[in-house]
């Protein structure tokens, strides 16, 4: 407990707490409750029908496919980038970290646009792709690429500070004892970064499945073919099928809740393992 002379008067404390809670209820709790209420407004039958409809199933399949391709690639990228940045000293390191963060500061719409300008009919590779009958934009490859762009920093930015904090002593010791690079990674580094890695993957996956702006630009909105779950939600909503739109949206809201829960658990585990880490030395 804080000493009385460095704590606020009780009335002020209650006031500040009330302001914060009302703000959070209005901006976070009400919208979250609204998603599920609207989803079930017309009953469980309508809810289930909206999820079983062929276009919805196709959207779910495409979203899963996109995540299955992008998340592992960005996982490998994140580990490799963090290894290079955290375990070695080289000039331009800070610039490299900034470049890895770059996709976070680019508007999702612009992220989609740059792939249209590369692979679209008017784009740099457009004529060549058309001549070879390859469709990138308004097709699945474009969706995957745009999602990769948007989600590529997630794993790396979780791992870089963690691995920098852990230093290189363990790896150097293992090396001196004759371990190969591969052995060092699997036996020494990976056990130390498991929770951070998991956290990065969870965030990366949530964004990969929920990305809207970038995917919207490159998708072309072809029903049953290039619609992901968020795009399917948009179409249903714009066609005034509000209950169906919220039913499908509730899947994504559920994914968000699972992400938050996983994040809380992983953060606690990471803190424990870091404490153990500090304790050991």
């Amino acid at each position: 407990m804080r000493k009385p002379h460095v704590a606020e008067p009780t009335a002020v404390r209650w006031g500040v707490m009330a302001v914060a809670l009302v703000f959070l209820i209005l901006f976070l709790v009400v919208p979250l409750a609204a998603v599920f209420t609207e989803a079930f407004r017309k009953g469980v039958g309508v809810y289930l029908a909206a999820l079983r409809e062929p276009d919805a199933l196709a959207a779910i399949r495409l979203t899963l496919l996109t995540a299955v391709i992008t998340v592992p690639l960005n996982l490998v990228f994140g580990v490799v980038a963090a290894w290079a940045i955290a375990k070695f000293e080289f000039p331009g390191k800070q610039l490299l970290i900034t470049l890895i963060d770059l996709p976070f500061s680019v508007s999702p719409v612009v992220a989609g646009l740059i792939y249209v300008l590369l692979f679209g009919r008017q784009g740099w590779f457009g004529p060549w792709l058309t001549a070879h009958h390859i469709k990138m934009v308004f097709a699945v490859p474009g969706i995957v690429l745009a999602t990769m762009f948007v989600t590529c920093p997630f794993v790396a930015r979780e791992l870089i500070p963690l691995m920098q904090a852990q230093g290189t002593d363990d790896e150097e010791a293992a090396r001196v004892l004759g371990a190969s690079g591969w052995q060092i990674f699997w036996r020494v580094t990976l056990p130390n970064i498991t929770w951070g890695l998991l956290y990065g993957v969870i965030l990366c996956n949530a964004r990969a499945m929920g990305e809207f702006g970038a995917v919207s630009v490159v998708s072309g909105h072809i029903r049953g073919q290039t619609n992901t779950i968020p795009l399917h939600v948009e179409i249903l909503y714009n066609e005034y099928h509000a209950a169906a739109a919220f039913a499908v949206a509730s899947l994504l809201a559920l994914l968000a809740l699972i992400t938050l829960a996983a994040k809380t658990v992983v953060e606690r585990k990471a803190r424990q393992s870091l404490k153990g880490f500090v304790h050991e030395y």
Binding site: R13, S105, P108, A245
Partner: protein
């Protein structure tokens, strides 16, 4: 000396491989596509680009996007500080659940946030029905855009201020109190100056995110050209009209703004890192 240091670090294998793969992946996914966009804009000619970037409809969209992003980030700077304060300093039931919930805007897909906020704020919605008798229209107005941007920017300030507040040395406040400062004086003269870099960083992060935001805004804004059309939507409109040059020009303008903000944010983080090192 540095050569010895360098060699010592190279005891661990894999430097060439990992750095090579990192640079290759980053180039293929991020750097080459971004450079191609700038190249595309330059082939269209800079004067044509300038014309598109400064046409009245584009200027109106910047006013809305930048103005709403600024107001949203400012509200978040104040409310984010209040929320971070409550989460760090006070004990109450449900604190950890609320702490976890603060990240909801990061985790909830923007399209879901968009349709939900629109429904809640529309005339018959849970909140909109109480605003309507007051003569406030939230949905399909600039106010709706601001509300959506407050939602998506909410975690940035909380998550940048929270750790700094946690690490704040209690002795500072005790010293101020023992020297006769009131609680408010201590807050304004001792605590706020310590939090200032984190607050500014959070503000800049929320602002940068809000400028480019699309999904959560596009449903609630109403999308009327000159009035409630945000800049990212203008890019999409131009693409749908096959005006690739126009979309590129505005896209490049937004990229330049993003880069400038990224630079500012890096400087702010360097500043706050130096103060709390």
């Amino acid at each position: 000396m540095s050569a010895i240091r360098g060699r010592r670090h190279r005891v661990i294998p894999g430097f060439g491989l990992t750095l090579g793969v990192t640079l290759l992946y980053l180039s293929l996914i991020v750097l080459i596509p971004l450079s191609a966009t700038f190249l595309k804009a330059s082939t269209a000619g800079w004067s044509a680009c300038w014309h598109t970037v400064t046409e009245p409809r584009a200027l109106a969209s910047y006013r809305l996007s930048f103005g709403a992003a600024f107001i949203g980030a400012a509200v978040n700077a104040i409310m984010g500080l209040v929320v971070a304060w409550v989460l760090v300093r006070y004990q109450f039931p449900g604190r950890r659940i609320i702490d976890a919930l603060v990240d909801l805007p990061f985790a909830l897909p923007t399209a879901v946030a968009g349709i939900t906020l629109t429904t809640v704020l529309s005339v018959h919605g849970w909140i909109g029905r109480y605003l309507e008798p007051l003569g406030i229209t939230a949905a399909f107005s600039p106010l709706g855009v601001v509300i959506a941007l407050i939602f998506i920017g909410l975690p940035f300030v909380v998550r940048t201020v929270q750790p700094v507040l946690q690490a704040l040395d209690p002795e500072l406040e005790e010293a101020a109190a023992s020297l006769g400062a009131g609680r408010w004086q201590t807050f304004a003269r001792v605590i706020i100056p310590e939090l200032w870099p984190a607050l500014l960083t959070g503000f800049a992060l929320a602002f940068a995110r809000a400028i480019g935001e699309y999904g959560s805004v596009v449903f609630i804004s109403g999308n009327m050209p000159m009035r409630t059309e945000i800049t990212p939507l203008l890019i999409i409109t131009k693409l749908e009209q096959y005006d690739y040059a126009g979309a590129t020009a505005i896209g490049v303008f937004m990229l330049l703004v993003s880069f400038a903000l990224l630079l500012v944010i890096n400087l702010l983080q360097w500043w706050s890192g130096k103060r709390h090192a």
